[in-house]
Symmetry: C2
Subunit: 139 residues, 2 copies
DNA sequence: ATAGCTGCAAATGCTTTGCAAGGCC
DNA sequence: GGCCTTGCAAAGCATTTGCAGCTAT
């Protein structure tokens, strides 16, 4: 009853199983949109629109919940570049970002294209969870 | 570590004049809170609260407008670390930040404590407006 | 069967705006 | 006086939540 494109080997189901999230129709569909292509930076609103245009009936609230669940289990990374707009990155490996201030677009900077020579020590009792580099572009 | 120093000659008035903003009572008062002490990271809500507790009558809307005007003329820098919460930094020189994910606090990393060895070239037709490093801490 | 999901709509939190009244030059 | 600012309250957005009904196992 669904018009979802069936790929012979979608990673979506396996990924959900691996992290122990029940593979419901909505989660599976969203996982396919997110993971069955190349890496991407996407907002909740965008993903919702994309889901609807692929005939996947899912509410915006569920999209938000799902994105946060995925982030919680490490399938996604949340990126905040702009007040009041969150992006989710399907690439959770070590890398950084270009941010086009005019258009609001994000673009990966591969890990080897940027090098941080000296990272300061974490203050007493704290540990570094992540070093995030955002190169802001205009023009 | 340090108490706020009362300076006999507030820089606030001069700063406003220098950037061509009319020194109204509200702007002057906010400028004093912001610039007459050590550098700080502050949210609109915090500044508003602080203003009220210093007997400065100012509306939250005016605080927002003022912070953005100050940012527009380079007196402040806006920092986004968390979806839906903006901080304004009175230190506009080149430096980076620790972000305490648990408490939401920000802390400066002096420019010399961090070094970016290799910065990627800006894409065709773009120029780098700023390289921002956020070291996220937890614990 | 039942614990966990989902949709909807209402609620929330931060931020911006419209407009009449007030203040600075 | 004239124009810029301000205050208030209402509007705006993105996001979250409460709850009744649905679903995967």
């Amino acid at each position: 009853m669904s018009m979802i494109t069936i790929r012979p080997y979608s990673q979506a189901l396996d990924r959900l199983r691996a992290v122990g999230l029940r593979p419901t129709r909505q989660r599976l569909a969203l996982a396919r949109l997110l993971f069955d292509g190349c890496d991407r930076h996407i907002s909740a609103e965008q993903l919702h629109t994309e889901a609807l245009s692929t005939n996947i009936r899912v509410s915006l609230a569920t999209v938000y919940n799902t994105l946060h669940q995925f982030t919680g289990v490490g399938l996604l990374r949340e990126i905040v570049v702009d007040a009041g707009r969150s992006y989710f990155d399907t690439n959770t490996s070590d890398h950084h970002h270009f941010f086009y201030e005019n258009s609001g677009k994000l673009c990966d900077i591969p890990a080897e294209m940027i090098a941080i020579a000296k990272v300061p020590q974490a203050p007493e009792g704290m540990r570094i969870s992540r070093v995030e580099v955002i190169v802001r572009l205009e023009g």
